[in-house]
Amino acid sequence: MANQDFVRQINLDGIGRAPGLGLRWHIDFVLLGFLLLLCASGLFLLYSATGQDLSVVIRQATYLGISLLAMLLVSQIPPRVLMQSAKWFYTGGVLLLLAVLLFGVHSKGAQRWIQLPGFRFQPSEIIKLIMPITMAAFLARRRLPPSLKDVALSLLIVAVPVVLIAKQPDLGTSILIGSSGIFVLLLAGLRKRIIFSAICMAVPSIYILWHFFMYDYQKRRVLTFLNPESDPWGSGWNIIQSTIAIGSGGVDGKGWLMGTQSHLDFLPESHTDFILAVLAEEFGLVGCLTLFTTYALILGRGIFITLNADTLFGRLLAGSITLTFFVYIFVNVGMVSGLLPVVGVPLPLVSRGGTSLITLLVGFGFLMSIHTHRSFLGVSH
C-alpha cells in the first residue's frame, strides 16, 4: 500500500540519518516549494489584473515576505503547545469578536474591523486559525468516534464564533470558519447516522436561516446567483461578466496582459475575488488546469502530512487546515464560474490582500510544525 510505503520512507529519513536542515529548522521544503510556485505565479497574474500597476505587486510581494516569515516562525511552535493553549486562544478570539460587535469599525456596510493605534485588523481572520486548533484539541482528548454529548459540545464551540461573524455580517468567512470546525468533527469519526440526519435537518434550517438570519444583500446575492440575467446591470453584472471573461479565454487564452474583460473594466473586483476570471481569460483552460495542478500538489502534501502526523491532534488539525484550503478554492472558483453565489471569498494565495495571505500561510506553518516535530519513536504501526 502506498500508505505503508510513505511511512517506511519517513522512518528511514528520520531514524536512518541525522536530522536534515528541514527538520532542524522545522521547514517542509516540499510544501514551501509548492507554495512559492503558486504565490510567484499569482504575482504575475496580479500585475496584469491591476492594469500593470507595479506598486500593487510590490506591496503584495511585501505581504508575501512577511507572511512567509510568519509561517516559518509558527512552524517552530511544537503542536503540543498549540494544543495546550487552545482554550486560551478560543476564549481570546470570542472576546475579540464581541469587541468587534461593540466597538468595531464600519466599512462598506459591515462591521468587521478593530482599530488599534497604527493599524486595524479583522479578528475573524484569527478565528480561522483558532477554530481548527480548538476543535482538534477538544476532540483529540475525547474517545473517538465522539459521543453525542461531545458532538453537542463541539457544535457549540463552532456555533459561537460563526454566529458572531455572521452578525458582522460576513457570510463568506462564517461559512469557511464553520466548515473548518465541522471538518475536524467529520475527520474525528462523527457517526454516519448523525451525518445523514444532519443532512435531513439542513432543509428546514436553510429555511430558518433565510428568513431570520440573512441580510437583504445576502439574499439578493443568492437570488442573483440563481438568475443573473434578471438584473444584468445591477448585481447580476459580476457573474455575467466573469462568465464571459472565462469563456472568451477559450483553451489557450488571450495572452498575458491581453484580457479585454479585465483591462477594459468590464470585470469588477478583477484583482481580488474575481482574479481567477483574469487567469481564465488570459491563459485559458490550460492556465486554469496549471493552477489547479499546483493547488492539487499543495493539497496532496497537506494530505500526506495529515496521514503521517504522529498525534491525533496533529492529524485532526492538519486535516482540517487542508480541507479548509480546498473549500477556499472550491467556493472561489465556484462563485467566479457561476456555480455558487458570490460570497466574497478570495482565491487563496493569488487574490490581492495581505490579511488572507498571512492567515493561510500561518495555517501552512502549523502543517510544517506538525510534520517536523514528530517523535518517531511514538509512531505506532
Partner: protein, 621 residues
C-alpha cells in the same frame, strides 16, 4: 488525561485516516466538477462567450459625413459648416440624470433655456444617442469638463460640424435651413444613412437636395471600456462628404431686392429667362435660419410662427395673390390666339362695362375712361374695359386653357418643395368646389386677374419669362448642377407650350411692344415711376390687386383703409427687350411701388453688364 488511558490509538488513527481518504475522494470529485464547469465555459460555450466579449468592448461608431456647402452664383458661401464643441449625454449610460446635470452645472453655466431644450431633445432622442446639452464650448469649459469626465458617466465632449448661414436672414426661404431630426423625420429617414448625423434639411434647398448634400456616413470600429469611453480605433471606413451645390442665386441681386423692399411685406423673384435660373428670391420679412440649426426654443419659435407678418412663410412660392392686371399680356395673347380680336380692333371706353341684361357696372380703374382703345393701348394704359368687353367672346374655357399653358394653376416644379399651385378657375373647378355653374360675370373679372384667380410670384415670373422667350418654356431652378435623382422629383405639371409656339410670331412682338410702352411711353402705367433715365429697354406690366371688394358706386380712399386692407401692388417685367436676360415679378402687400423695386434690382443686374459689353469708359449716373 483520564481519557487517554481508555483510548485505542490504533483504532482512532485508522478511523481518522479512513475519513481522510473519503475526504480526498470528495475533493477529487468536486475538483472534477470545477474542471468540467471551466471546460463547459471555455470549450463548449467558447464561441458564444467570445462573441459576447467582443460585443462588450467593440463598438461600431458612425462617422457622420461633412454636409455639402451651398454657394451663390459668385461662389459666395451661403451655407457652411463650422466646428463646434458639444457637451452631450448618453441617457442610457447615466444612472442619476438630475444629479449629473447638477454636477455639470457646477462646472459650467447652464441656462434655463439650455436645460429646457436638452429635456426636449431627450424626449425625442433615439436609443443610445448622444443628446447635446451645450453647444459652442469654450476652451476653458472643455478643459474643466475633461478633467472631471471620470465622475461624469455618460458625458462626452465631441467636436461636431454645425451648419452656419453666414448671410443670416438673406436666404432663409430659398436656401432654407437644417434642423435636428425629430420623430416625424425618423419615420421617413433611413437610420443607416443618418447614423451619426443629427440634422436634416427642413426647408428650401437644404431640404430638397438633402440626398446629395448629406453624403454617406463612414464607420469606425472602436474599443470601449465598461463606461463606454473610446480607448482606441481598430478599423475605419471614411465617410463620403456631401456634394457642394452652386445656386443661380446672386447675393448682389438678393441684397438689392431686400434693400428696395425695405420694411414692407412682399416678395420678389428674379429669373434668367434663358435658363430658368432663379437669381433672386426674396420673401420679406425674413428670419434667421441659424436659430433652427441646434434646435429653436419654443418661445422664439412661437414668436416667429404667430407673428402677424408671417416671416416663416415663403411668399415667393407659397404666397397666392390675385395677379390682377399683370395677366393682361397673357389675356391679350389669348384674345389674338383665339381670333377674338385683331390688333387693330378698337372699343370705346366710357369708364365702365355692363353685361347685357344686368345693371352691375364693371369699372375701369380710370373712372373717366380711356376713350378709343385697341389691344396694345389696353395693355399699355392697363385698360380694364377693353378686356371686360372681350371676356364674353373669349369665354372661360378658352381663357382657362390658354392661361394654363403659361403655368397658371400649376406648380412650376422649382427645386424646393415649398410651392403652391395658385388657382386658375374653370367651369369644372367651380362645379367641384361650389357646386354651381359658371357665371359670365366671373369671366369678366377673371380676364383682369381678379375674382377666383390666384398666382404665386414664382408663377408670375415664369409666365413673364415665357413671354420674354416668345413662347419657349423654362422651368425655374435654384441649383445649377444637374442632379437628376433630386430634380426628377420636382418636375411639376407639364405645361403644353405648343400652342403658344404656334401663335403668330407677330402676336408676341405686338404684346411685348405694348409692355415696353408700359415703361417707356408717356401714357404707360409705369412710366411716371420708373421710365426716366433707363439705360436699357424694359417690357413690363403693372398690377393693383384689390384686397377688399368695394361696394357698387362707393368711392374709396386707400389712406382710410386699414393697413392690411390696402391694395397690393404687383409688377412683372423683363429686360433688355431685344435680348432678355432677366425676368422679375414683385408683389408688395398693402403698399405701392413694386415697379421701383423691380427697377432697382434690374439696374443692379444689367448696368454693370451693359457697360462692360459696350466697353464705355464714361459712367452715367
Amino acid at each position: 488525561m483520564p481519557q487517554d488511558t481508555l483510548k485505542d490509538h490504533g483504532a482512532e488513527k485508522r478511523l481518522v485516516n479512513t475519513r481522510i481518504w473519503v475526504a480526498v475522494g470528495l475533493m477529487a470529485l468536486l475538483g472534477m466538477g470545477l474542471i468540467s464547469r471551466l471546460f463547459y465555459l471555455q470549450v463548449v460555450r467558447y464561441n458564444e462567450l467570445s462573441t459576447q466579449s467582443d460585443e462588450n468592448r467593440l463598438l461600431l461608431q458612425p462617422i457622420p459625413p461633412t454636409r455639402g456647402l451651398i454657394y451663390d452664383t459668385n461662389c459666395k458661401l451661403l451655407a457652411m459648416n463650422t466646428p463646434s464643441h458639444i457637451l452631450s449625454i448618453v441617457r442610457e449610460q447615466t444612472r442619476d440624470l438630475e444629479g449629473l446635470l447638477a454636477s455639470i452645472s457646477a462646472l459650467l453655466p447652464l441656462s434655463e433655456g439650455e436645460l429646457h431644450r436638452f429635456h426636449q431633445r431627450l424626449k425625442r432622442r433615439r436609443p443610445y444617442e448622444a443628446v447635446p446639452l451645450k453647444f459652442d464650448l469654450t476652451e476653458e469649459e472643455i478643459a474643466r469638463i475633461t478633467v472631471n469626465l471620470f465622475r461624469l458617466p455618460g458625458v462626452d465632449i465631441n467636436a461636431e460640424l454645425i451648419r452656419r448661414y453666414p448671410e443670416g436672414e438673406l436666404f432663409a426661404h430659398s436656401v432654407g435651413y437644417v434642423g435636428r431630426i425629430n420623430d416625424q423625420d425618423l419615420k421617413k429617414l433611413d437610420p443607416a444613412i443618418y447614423s451619426g448625423t443629427h440634422t436634416t434639411g427642413k426647408i428650401g434647398v437644404e431640404r430638397s437636395y438633402e440626398a446629395v448634400l448629406l453624403g454617406k456616413p463612414g464607420y469606425q470600429e472602436v474599443e470601449t471600456n465598461a463606461r463606454g469611453r473610446v480607448l482606441r480605433v481598430l478599423k475605419q471606413e471614411k465617410p463620403v462628404p456631401g456634394k457642394d451645390i452652386n445656386l443661380y442665386l446672386d447675393i448682389n441681386l438678393q441684397k438689392a431686392a431686400v434693400k428696395a423692399i425695405g420694411d414692407r411685406r412682399g416678395a420678389l423673384v428674379a429669373m434668367d429667362p434663358k435658363t430658368g435660373g432663379v437669381m433672386a428670391m426674396v420673401s420679406n420679412p425674413s428670419f434667421d435660419p441659424n436659430l433652427f440649426v441646434t434646435g429653436i426654443d419654443t418661445k422664439t419659435f412661437n414668436a416667429l410662427n404667430r407673428d402677424i407678418e408671417r416671416p416663416l412663410y415663403n411668399r415667393a412660392s407659397l404666397g397666392e395673390y390675385p395677379p390682377a392686371s399683370t395677366v393682361k399680356p397673357v389675356m391679350g395673347l389669348a384674345l389674338l390666339a383665339n381670333d377674338v380680336v385683331t390688333p387693330e380692333d378698337k372699343i370705346f371706353d366710357k369708364g365702365w362695362f355692363q353685361l347685357p341684361g344686368s345693371d352691375h357696372r364693371f369699372r375701369n380703374w380710370n373712372r373717366s375712361g380711356h376713350g378709343w382703345v385697341d389691344l396694345p393701348k389696353a395693355i399699355t394704359v392697363s385698360n380694364d374695359t377693353y378686356f371686360y368687353i372681350q371676356a364674353g367672346k373669349l369665354g372661360i374655357d378658352n381663357l382657362h386653357d390658354f392661361a394654363s399653358q403659361f403655368g397658371f394653376g400649376h406648380r412650376t416644379g422649382i427645386d424646393i418643395r415649398e410651392e403652391r399651385p395658385g388657382l386658375l378657375p374653370s367651369r369644372e373647378w367651380k362645379q367641384g368646389v361650389y357646386g354651381e355653374t359658371w357665371y359670365p360675370g366671373e369671366t369678366v373679372i377673371a380676364i383682369i386677374g381678379q375674382g377666383y384667380m390666384l398666382a404665386t410670384p414664382l408663377q408670375l415670373v415664369e409666365s413673364t419669362a415665357l413671354i420674354a422667350n416668345r413662347g419657349r418654356y423654362v422651368q425655374p431652378r435654384l441649383v445649377k448642377e444637374d442632379i437628376p435623382e433630386v430634380q426628377g422629383e420636382f418636375w411639376g405639371d407639364d405645361i403644353e407650350t405648343d400652342n403658344a409656339d404656334d401663335t403668330d410670331a407677330m402676336n408676341w412682338e405686338l404684346i411685348i411692344e405694348a409692355m415696353e410702352d408700359v415703361v417707356h411711353s408717356p401714357q404707360g402705367t409705369a412710366n411716371w415711376r420708373i421710365g426716366k433715365g433707363l439705360k436699357y429697354r424694359m417690357a413690363a406690366k403693372t398690377g393693383t390687386a384689390q384686397v377688399v371688394s368695394i361696394a357698387q358706386g362707393e368711392e374709396y380712399d386707400a389712406e382710410q383703409l386699414k393697413e392690411f386692407e390696402r391694395d397690393h401692388s404687383l409688377f412683372v417685367a423683363f429686360a433688355p427687350v431685344e435680348d432678355p436676360q432677366i425676368a422679375i415679378a414683385v408683389i408688395l402687400e398693402n403698399s405701392n411701388g413694386a415697379s421701383n423695386v423691380a427697377r432697382d434690382v434690374m439696374d443692379t443686374f444689367l448696368l454693370p453688364r451693359l457697360s462692360a459689353r459696350q466697353n464705355t469708359t464714361k459712367e452715367d449716373t
